[in-house]
């Protein structure tokens, strides 16, 4: 079983090749959001370096969201194009679940968190238990303070933040939550290599779609949190 995995959902870009139960090769870079320029050569070089071709892949996996509007569309366009041309099944991945897999095996609550701007975060909650990743909270866009309230419900259970919003939340929550930590730098961002096992398990469960059905998942930002427009001053 061979899977090509791509992530361009956020600041970093990465690609990986999974083969018969193992990660065969991966590539990751965090050099600014120029995914439209870097991702195709990255994919091409990675495959060439490990003497594999897209044609021999059983499926193509991509992070479908949440994430950067532009980034998600670049990843989607690439995988849709490849999947359509080669007739390959596609595996949409939750960016947040993919992030949680960076910490596969970590004992405690795994909280992926991405900066959605305007005081909001994209987040979810997982726990690794008995060799499986269990989801405790759906992917959502909420205010950082609301996430803190969710995490507080778990009391003293160790919690680890991962993702490009981890630092923001760690600084905000420090001293207000018990046993809070942050993923080390090399595990902080999305990594296709870490998501490959998730992609393989989804493929085994038959959770694939056609290239035509593959679509980005944008999480709506809550509208009520703050006013977008400048309020007119009194008397105007």
């Amino acid at each position: 079983m061979k899977i090509f995995v791509l992530d361009t959902s956020s600041k970093a870009a990465s690609a990986a090749v999974w083969e018969d139960g193992h990660l065969l090769a991966d590539c990751w870079q965090n050099t600014g959001r120029t995914h439209s320029v870097t991702s195709l050569p990255m994919a091409e070089n990675l495959l060439a370096d490990c003497s594999r071709t897209l044609e021999e892949m059983d499926a193509l996996a991509v992070t479908a969201g949440p994430g950067s509007f532009t980034g998600l569309r670049i990843g989607m366009a690439m995988i849709k194009g490849m999947g359509f041309a080669l007739g390959k099944p596609c595996i949409p991945l939750s960016t947040l679940e993919g992030l949680a897999w960076n910490l596969r095996g970590w004992p405690g609550l795994i909280c992926p968190v991405m900066d959605a701007r305007v005081g909001q975060v994209y987040t979810a909650l997982f726990r690794w238990e008995n060799g499986k990743m269990h989801r405790l909270m759906d992917d959502c866009a909420i205010a950082a303070d609301e996430l803190r309230e969710h995490l507080a419900e778990y009391g003293a259970e160790p919690k680890i933040l991962v993702g490009d919003g981890a630092m923001l939340c760690y600084n905000k929550f420090e001293g207000q939550l018990e046993n809070l930590s942050m993923a080390p730098d090399h595990l902080l961002h999305q990594r296709a290599g870490a998501m490959a096992e998730l992609a393989a398990s989804l493929l085994a469960e038959g959770k694939t779609v056609s290239a035509g059905e593959l679509a980005p998942v944008y999480l709506r930002l809550p509208q009520a949190e703050r006013e977008l427009k400048l309020r007119q001053q009194k008397g105007e």
Binding site: K11, G32, R33, S68, F69, T70, G71, R117, V118, Y218, R220, L221, Q223, R226, E227, L228, K229, L230
Partner: protein
């Protein structure tokens, strides 16, 4: 805060070109002021000051964002006139451009006031006469 008085479009361009020399990349310039106040004219001056051909500058009303390259820094010229919600703003790619190290110039920034990042530089245009305008530049990292 800096305040300028411009008596013509050409002078507005000059003021903008001088101001452009102080930009280092990553700035968000939020224009305030209604129609015909010289916002596009100011942007043309910014382009010139950054070493971009000012003839490339046009109103981004239909494209939402124009990208001008070839200068010292890339310049992204947004028109937020039709942006009515956070979702609409997200789908302009605005949040992605914030990380790219260029200069963002925002027409009708009043529409997205709640989403402007810390350190935004506000450029307010006020009408003094047919051609003359006052241009106030305030905000920025130093505040």
């Amino acid at each position: 805060m800096q305040k300028f008085i411009s008596s013509s479009p050409a002078e507005t361009e000059q003021i903008a070109a001088e101001f452009a020399k102080t930009l280092r990349g990553g700035e968000v310039l939020a224009f305030r002021g209604g129609l015909g106040m010289g916002k596009t004219c100011f942007t043309r001056g910014l382009a010139a000051g950054l070493g971009i051909d000012p003839a490339e500058v046009s109103s981004p009303t239909f494209a939402l964002v124009n990208e001008y390259r070839g200068g010292r820094l890339p310049l992204w010229h947004f028109d937020m006139y039709r942006v009515e919600s956070f979702d609409a703003l997200y789908s302009t790619g605005f949040f992605d451009y914030l990380d790219l190290g260029g200069v963002l110039a925002l027409e009708w920034s009043e529409n997205i006031d709640g989403a402007l990042p810390e350190g935004t530089i506000y450029i307010t245009f006020e009408r003094l006469g047919d051609e003359s305008r006052s241009i106030t530049i305030e905000g920025g990292a130093g505040k």
